[in-house]
Symmetry: none
DNA sequence: TATGAATGAGACTTCATTCAT
DNA sequence: AATGAATGAAGTCTCATTCAT
């Protein structure tokens, strides 16, 4: 009755959240109806997330989701337009926070007048991203799992986020270098190196494949990367 | 949009290539029939590869492939059992060469009696992987695109290869460290760092997203990574 | 034209009816939804039965059935798992009643202490089978039409029922003979004779091929079977 | 490219044999080419017969047949027009002999001037049918298996033969009664009784289901049919 | 609102038949 | 003549989406 195939980008005008808001909904926010609505949305999102991680976004059907969430199939459409909308809703908080973290850090870097101030922006973004990973580990894992897919269909949000992140991260690096925090190195290469390394390890950790001690990874990664990337005059003497 | 009756791992007994070979075929090898067969297989593989890159493996239908390849739908099944078999056939040469490269390099490392000999094994594997990237760029890109997906359905081969590569690479790193080529660092972390960084940049390059000069990337990456990873006594004085 | 992935006996665990019942359905029994469900199931069964009789089970497609029943193709699968399940559902009431008739008659025979009592069991089973034929003539015809087919695919239920019936009938005969109702004759031969004769005539009658007066057949058949065909003056004296 | 569905009756003009004879074939009858041709035809027929018995005519594909016969798929069509033609060819000798047996017996009956002569016609037909069963057991089994199917598609020949046999047998009975060989009984009922009984037992015997001693069956059957099943002490005096 | 039944497009796969080799 | 590759119609089954209850 309706076409299955979605074309990428159709959602350029939709709100960030991807959640469906009936134009007129009864009950005031916080009331009984609103609470029910939140609960249903959460049940659907949770079920979907678990299934997406298990089988990949494409392979999961609407019925899989509703049945796992314990709702009727038709109810899905009261909460989300379709699978892509759900994926967008899933990614929304993460995307918002990650993008905000970069934007703020970029702003700080631009405003920084000292190397110390510039360095602080790194600490800030690290903290912000750490918090995201901590509170939205599953969504981050889903992102890592799907972010290289072509921006088509329900997986589009993952890829689009990845592209935005890369772009902002590169700008961030450029600014950091201008502040003398990094060696004179092409920003694109060094940024992708850091992103690639961090994401790969994070993937293993969130995955359960990682054999080492996760809590030590950030420090190790920083040592590893920064010993290579750090500007000469910041290099610590070995030993 | 979804693959129907696939379960991961069902292909454990199939040959490496994934291609379908009638046990006895008429016409001698090199004859007309044989040539036709090769041409068809190639046409299907090429069409499939292009579509997979464009839309992702899951979103491409058999009919998309045959129609792009200019053959009848039913003909697909003379050459491949199903989409997963085609994907396996696509990955087979790359998987073979990559795995062989690691295995050989690992063997060399084990046999190495000097640091120079050990270092040579790195050059060898670099060359081998470079050759694979050069000759099978599209397949490598497909791998990068799909290799984090759960090992379900047609995309399974990508993920399975990724897991094997990670495992072998970690062993490789462990050996390299035993030969004093690398700093005393957890092998898992440093390996995933290198893989993650290299794959992320490669993805951008093969993708067309990369803005810099691709030919300079390997050198840059080595500098970047090795300046961080290199054992202290190999560290060159900055300047 | 051919059934695809069926293997005989796959349904050993399914319920007797073969009908698909969602575990929890909305609407109380007897409500609108329940009524609709019954109507649909009936429409599909009726359409299928008519087509099966016309063309044979194997030659009828799901689409033939749904289109004749006036429902969408996909709806079929809400009511039956596949064609074989529908066939099972079609046969279920007949199979149940026939088997029950035999079991009861066998039980009566076992308990019978007089020849009169034993004879009554014959009357009982005759009546029961007559009722089945009267109320489920078309299903019985379908049974007669398909019951010699190998127990493969959608036709399996017919053959399996036939085998059960033969077995029970033979036991029945054996008991009847022990009560002195029948000549000392191998039970298998005499049973198959009666079944074969009865089924063949029934087939003609239900078919419309039969030229005679159907209502007289049962009596004629009994006379014939019990007294034989020999013309009076050729009758050998009993030894 | 061509339609699959056959419509019943399309073969009304074809020759009895169903075998394909190229209008101009090289080699004289009995020569090398003719011998090869016979061998191939036999291989195909044998393979088909075995598969038909195992799975039913409808479920067997052309490729199943050729592959079991050890010939190429395309070769099938050099020997038979399609599956139905093969089935016709399979039944042809049996049909011919059975029909001839009835026709001859009917002719004899018509010419018979004594009851002894009339009785001899029964012996003749019994012998003829026995010979057919002996030499073409598998084909007879296939006939029994498929002869109640609607006369559609490849199974049509079985059903058509069944209808002819019934018709001729009824005429035969009518004549026999006129000669005083049988009781005054509706010919249709008594004929179908005999056919039904005989076929049912034969089916069990050829099938392998029969537990008794096959060689004794004909005699038992004759006794049974002619003398009836009634136990001696219940026998009503003939009125 | 919630439910799950209905719809029909469309994906996968098979197979009779034709045809180049 | 024999082979088996090619074709595409047709069949099975799934699933996103809509809609009556």
């Amino acid at each position: 009755m309706m076409d299955k195939g979605d074309s990428a980008g159709r959602r350029s005008t939709s709100s960030t959240s991807g959640a469906k808001r009936p134009s007129e909904r009864p009950g005031q926010p916080g009331g009984r109806r609103d609470t029910n609505r939140r609960e249903r949305t959460k049940a659907l999102s949770d079920a979907a997330l678990a299934l997406f991680l298990e089988r990949g976004i494409e392979a999961v059907t609407i019925e899989d989701i509703t049945s796992k969430a314990g709702v009727a199939k038709g109810s899905f459409y009261r909460y989300f337009d379709d699978k892509q909308a759900l994926v967008e809703a899933l990614f929304a908080p993460v995307a918002t926070q990650v993008i905000a973290a970069f934007d703020e850090s970029i702003a700080k870097l631009k405003a920084a007048r000292s190397r110390a101030a510039a360095f602080a922006s790194y600490e800030a973004i690290g903290e912000a991203l750490g918090a995201v990973i901590l509170h939205h580990g599953d969504v981050v894992l889903l992102y890592l799992q799907e972010c290289r897919a072509p921006a088509e269909g329900a997986r589009a949000p993952a890829r689009l986020l990845a592209d935005v992140v890369a772009e902002k991260a590169i700008e961030h690096t450029r600014l950091a270098r201008e502040h003398g925090l990094l060696r004179a190195f092409p920003a694109e290469v060094s940024t992708l190196t850091v992103i690639g390394a961090a994401e790969r390890i994070l993937f293993s950790v969130l995955n359960g494949d990682f054999k080492g001690e996760p809590l030590e990874v950030p420090g190790q990664l920083i040592t590893l990367i920064f010993d290579g990337l750090r500007a000469p005059d910041l290099r610590k003497p070995e030993g």
